[in-house]
């Protein structure tokens, strides 16, 4: 068989009976017999194509239509370049199958039903718009994986000359694992919006942070490695180093993130105004609840941070200083006739952290209310006295039970 490209200026084609005509990668070799019969010799390929399109090609799949459209487009281009109009003078009204009509029922994942009902045709005003609609039509095949589209586009006409189920079978010629990309290799679930690069990077970062928190807490920072983290996060080493220079920086970032979340928990518990004692209790209880709900995170910030590098140690020291500064406000709030030594709040803050660390190591963070009562009394009693301190603690516990 010979392939006769619809080359421009090839006058011989005009009189050639249409047998097989090739257009680039596509060939219309196996036109249906019916079409052949209706097309008189000398009608020209364009007429054949138009005739085929007019018939709607409802017996062949969308891919075939795409193929035909591509072929027709090429023919129009060549004809225009040759200034020799094709047989049919209605190129301005050349009909293009509307590929957006979707698929009919019975589609399967492996071989979506490519058979399309007789598609509505849209008039094409000009070649440019025709091209755009063709491209849009292929895009609207979006439910197919990219390699499926490639397969379909490369398929020759002869694969589905018999129409109907041929198209589906043609797709099935390719094994499912070839016809469809593995989920892990797809940028997005088939049929859904692609994830942007920024969003993908953000998701990876969150996975790394969650994995780092778990690894640091369970293995200890000193015994943790980047390999441990990436294995837990199920990301590549390159992805880790795209975000961090090493595990020290990662620990610092993790501690910063956890600290921010803890501050948010405290802020959520604080009301507007209130006495120093009320604010201490209103902030301490949700903080302990946060630690109880996130024991791994608490372990990283309270224990493992002390084994980190200078940046992390600085962050830990800042945390202690914040507690010291707040406790020192108790001096102004106190009505007791007492003198507190200069390092009193510094020691008290250290004691509170120490107690929290002890409970953490012993796995006793879950008892939030009893832990709160113990820590709050240590913090409040020097400034309020035992009775007032316990009264405030009781009020806070009652309020927390009501919320």
């Amino acid at each position: 068989m010979g392939f006769h490209r619809l080359a421009t200026g090839d006058a011989n084609l005009r009189d050639q009976p249409v047998r097989e005509v090739g257009f680039g990668d596509h060939h219309l070799g196996d036109l249906t017999q019916g079409h052949r019969e209706r097309i008189a010799p000398g009608s020209g390929t364009a007429a054949v194509i138009q005739e085929a399109i007019r018939e709607g090609f409802d017996q062949v799949g969308v891919a075939a239509q795409v193929t035909v459209v591509a072929a027709v487009e090429e023919a129009v281009e060549d004809s225009a370049a040759d200034a020799r109009p094709l047989e049919d003078q209605t190129y301005g009204q050349l009909l293009v199958p509307d590929l957006s009509c979707g698929f009919d029922g019975g589609a399967t994942e492996e071989a979506p039903n490519l058979r399309v009902p007789k598609p509505p045709f849209a008039k094409v005003a000009d070649l440019g718009r025709w091209r755009e609609e063709r491209r849009a039509g292929i895009q609207r095949l979006g439910n197919l994986a990219s390699n499926q589209k490639l397969c379909l586009q490369k398929m020759s006409w002869s694969h589905y000359a018999d129409g109907g189920e041929i198209s589906r079978n043609a797709v099935r010629r390719y094994p499912a694992h070839v016809a469809r990309l593995p989920q892990a290799l797809q940028n997005a679930p088939v049929g859904q919006t692609r994830v942007s690069r920024e969003e993908l990077s953000e998701r990876q970062l969150e996975r790394i942070l969650a994995a780092a928190t778990e690894v640091f807490a369970k293995r200890g920072f000193q015994d943790s490695t980047v390999d441990n983290i990436v294995a837990t996060a199920e990301v590549g080493v390159g992805s880790f180093y795209a975000h961090f220079d090493g595990k020290d920086e990662c620990l610092d970032y993790v501690c910063g993130r956890i600290s921010a979340e803890a501050h948010a928990a405290i802020a959520a518990g604080l009301g507007d105004g209130g006495s120093w004692a009320e604010r201490l209790c209103d902030g301490l209880h949700p903080l302990l609840a946060f630690a109880s709900a996130n024991p791994l995170a608490a372990r990283v910030v309270l224990l493992e941070a002390q084994t980190g590098g200078p940046k992390v140690l600085g962050r830990y020291a800042t945390m202690i200083d914040e507690v010291v500064d707040f406790l020192r406000l108790g001096r102004e709030a106190s009505t007791l006739d007492r003198q507190w030594p200069p390092a009193f709040e510094e020691a008290t803050a250290g004691g509170l952290v120490w107690l929290l660390q002890e409970r953490l190591v012993r796995g006793e963070l879950a008892e939030v209310d009893s832990l709160f009562a113990e820590l709050a009394e240590v913090a409040l009693e020097p400034y309020l006295g035992t009775t007032a301190a316990r009264r405030q603690i009781k009020a806070t516990l009652s309020a927390s039970k009501q919320t």
């Binding site: 000193q222 007492r338 390092a343 510094e346 008290t348 250290g350 004691g351």
Partner: protein, 239 residues
């Protein structure tokens, strides 16, 4: 056991006290403050951090041979554990010696406080290693030794429960809280690189430790009381 018998069973090298029931442990041999290898180890950990120290550098700093090192220790880790254990045993000897110089818990604890302040002042490298250096060690045993020392300090403070007017009124975690306060204050200042100033804070730490047991008014006296005799613990010179 009668008090006189308890006094006779005690072995100590400092001034005899009247407190009973708290034996003074023997001093470690060799003396960690005289042994060249152990001194070299502590100095190197202070300078470089535990993980950056190797056996060759220890031996070189000590002016010893690897054979001498291997004769006593299996490896760096073993050397560190033995050295720290010796230092902690020496610490306990010092604390109990000072404690037994008092006539009651308050005097004993006061003497302990000042003796520990001297210790912090005289051995800053050791304190840094024990408080901070071992925090970053991968060896779990070393971190356990650190925690054990702190817990030992809490047991000394907890002796005050027997001295309290109402022992049941003292919170259960009072001693742990006090010891934790002292440890965290020490850690915090070392981490920030500021002067620990042990002699400036000892009275405050005594006040903090005694408050739960003897009350605010009595504890506040500690902020003004002078250093007690018997709190200067002298180590015997190496024979």
């Amino acid at each position: 056991m009668p008090l006189a018998q308890r006094a006779r069973s005690r072995t100590f090298e400092g001034p005899a006290g009247t407190l009973g029931g708290h034996p003074i442990p023997p001093r470690p041999k060799p003396d960690p403050f005289s042994d060249p290898i152990e001194i070299a180890l502590i100095d190197l950990i202070f300078e470089r951090g535990y993980e950056a120290v190797d056996e060759q550098s220890i031996v070189a700093r000590a002016g010893a041979t690897m054979a001498e090192f291997r004769d006593r220790f299996v490896d760096k880790q073993d050397c560190t554990v033995q050295t720290i254990e010796a230092c902690l045993q020496d610490f306990r000897w010092m604390v109990e010696t000072a404690y037994n110089s008092g006539t009651d818990w308050r005097q004993g604890l006061r003497a302990c406080g000042w003796a520990v302040a001297d210790h912090l002042d005289e051995h800053p490298e050791l304190v840094h290693v024990l408080v901070l250096g071992l925090l970053g060690a991968k060896n779990e045993m070393l971190r356990v030794l650190r925690e054990e020392t702190l817990m030992y300090g809490a047991t000394v403070i907890e002796r005050g429960r027997a001295a309290a007017v109402d022992p049941d009124a003292v919170p259960a975690g009072a001693a742990a809280m006090a010891m934790g306060s002292i440890a965290q204050l020490l850690t915090h200042r070392l981490q920030k690189g500021v002067d620990v100033a042990p002699h400036e804070t000892v009275r405050q730490m005594l006040y903090l430790s005694m408050r739960p047991y003897i009350g605010e008014e009595a504890a506040a006296e500690e902020l003004r009381l002078p250093r007690p005799p018997g709190s200067r613990v002298r180590r015997p010179t190496l024979a």
